[in-house]
Symmetry: C2
Subunit: 372 residues, 2 copies
């Protein structure tokens, strides 16, 4: 296994880090655009602490707060225009995966105002993107430390792009910003982080650094998933810290290993049925584990050992939290998706034993009324 | 604990990676200086594979091969002049810790030819150092992925400097280059890697990423230390790969956590008694573990759990491999060192419970005839 590693983002963590380390922002310039969604950045307290830090450093700023869930490439384009208008030297993204993924594309549009929204997917732009700073407010995405941006195109399809443009120059990692996440977001984002680490662990690319990060975070995330399943209660502050840091570790694994079939199949549940991303991917954890038990049995067994639980308990916990048993998809509708998956087969090919898109279609149909 | 992480070096690993990925060298320029010691770079095969790769990419090169063990800052200065003479755009270091630490300083001198050898310690230079590529040939140093360079000054004292200049731009990580290491080097470098991870693990700064890397590598390194102690035989190829990759993981922990008192105290054994660096530091593992058992008992116990062995066996294994029982240092001579240590107290202060330099002086005296 090749010992590859690349993570150019500088992650600076700790409580009140935005306030304490505001001077780090100044080196990026005198004007910035803050890119956020409508509520998370405000409710978390991150936006207020950031703007106070910008004021302290005499950095003028504009705010674009129209990034929605599963961010539209058109919104990123619009934010890019605003960045040009205010003469932004750099960008700050605040939020969960949506705002963080979005600001990466905004940085491209701001530096290349001539390109159209859909052109960003071609990753063929002339000028270097503006520098970006990321501030996470959920414990799931790992976008803080990945080169990936997942954007919804003008046809409503989630498509990911990956490249050096996707690395933040600076990440402020303060778990306090995740404390305002409600129960549903807390569970779904924890499932997302769990799937990033578990898919990496079970996939073919898991080298030593990716294994190290997955082994560090998986027991912690699973401990909290069991807690959520048992109590339906929010974690305490210690748990918020543990989950946020675990989501970052999972992000390292995700960034190197990529994801397996649950991700593209989960996109369908999100695009058409509004299931939050983490739950949507985790709904296929049972199928993934079964596949791994057949074609990568050592890794599958090691995963259960790492989580200190039986496979039955693990599947029960994850699948009950992800519960998509009210989603009804016909065989005909599911069959129509096979073509889309065949066009971007990487996640299916990387699944242990390979995973035919036809099997994924079956898995979608089987969701209805599924009992774990 | 703050989730900090920074590692800008791009590590590209795998067998024959220099040959396969030679194109990565071209982006640094058309001329380079290769910086090595007298033998390791040649015996390992790394120098021949690198020069073939440079030829293939039409990169002209010079070679400076006079870096000795515990590299002299004056040799780095001399190599810097040669780099200027040949108009080097970048530098490639091949070797163990000595050549890799040295090339970092050569990059400073090459870009700042007006500074004197000793001035590099002040870390106050005008021009950005030249880009550097690192190719490791031993499984110990972690220099490939640390910001540290340890150089012997004009008075014969080992002094470390740390800063962004110390990060390689690119690291080629091919374990095959470690296969020519003889038994003594293999053991001492394995002890060095063990101490990097163990000191990090037991110290106060071990955050989640540092813990992840230490937990990944420590059981592997210890497994091989036990093998060396039991058999006095070289590892097989699988072992070479495991040990080299483990030394890189230990390097991540080292880079963030720094080292504790065994490192500066070990320098004395190297400077005055010629004990190789890894053995010199590991000779104080027993004292460190005892200190941790008193002042950081959970981490000490967790270390033994991680290594799956009793504290007695662990101490016996490490100390026998490090064996310095023939070193005789008088109380008076040891007491003279206290002043030096007090001037750079960080490693002593970071040791669990703090560690008075006077205790370190006692530990030096106690080496003579020590039985484990």
């Amino acid at each position: 296994m090749a010992y590859d590693f690349y993570m150019p983002a500088r992650v600076v963590g700790g409580e009140n880090v935005v306030t304490k380390q505001s001077a780090l922002l100044k080196k990026f310039g005198n004007t910035c655009l803050v890119v956020t969604g409508g509520t998370g950045a405000k409710q978390s307290g991150a936006l207020a602490e950031l703007t106070a830090a910008l004021d302290k450093e005499n950095i003028s700023y504009g705010i674009y707060d129209k990034i929605g869930a599963n961010p539209l490439v058109t919104a990123c384009h619009e934010a890019g225009r605003l960045a040009v208008e205010i003469g932004a030297d750099f960008l700050v993204g605040i939020g969960g995966g949506s705002a963080l993924d979005a600001v990466k594309a905004v940085a491209v549009f701001a530096a290349n105002p001539e390109i159209e929204p859909e052109e960003v997917y071609a990753m063929n732009f002339k000028n270097e993107p503006l520098p970006t700073v990321g501030i996470g407010t959920t414990s799931g995405t790992g976008s803080e430390i990945s080169a990936v941006s997942v954007l919804t195109d003008t046809k409503g399809v989630k498509r990911s792009i990956k490249g050096d443009f996707g690395y933040f120059n600076l990440v402020f990692a303060d778990w306090r910003y995740t404390c305002s996440c409600p129960m549903s977001v807390t569970v779904s984002t924890a499932l997302d982080a769990f799937m990033h680490a578990a898919e990496g662990w079970l996939g073919p690319k898991c080298n030593e650094p990716a294994t190290a990060f997955a082994a560090e975070c998986l027991p912690k995330i699973y401990k909290w998933l069991k807690y959520f399943y048992a109590t339906n209660e929010l974690p305490d502050e210690k748990g918020r810290e543990e989950l946020y840091h675990a989501s970052l570790s999972a992000g390292f694994t995700l960034n190197y290993c990529g994801t397996l079939f649950p991700h593209p199949v989960g996109y369908i549940l999100t695009e058409h049925y509004g299931i939050p991303h983490g739950r949507a991917c985790a709904a296929f954890f049972d199928k993934l584990l079964q596949r791994a038990e057949e074609f990568a049995p050592e890794r599958a067994a090691a995963l259960c050992t790492l989580l200190c639980d039986s496979r039955e308990n693990i599947i029960k916990t994850v699948n009950n939290l992800a519960d998509c048993s009210d989603i009804e998809i016909s065989s005909e509708r599911a069959a129509e998706l096979i073509k889309r998956w065949k066009a971007i087969p990487k996640n299916f090919e990387c699944t242990p034993g390979g995973y035919a898109p036809a099997l994924a279609a079956d898995a979608l149909v089987e969701l209805k009324g599924k009992i774990y």
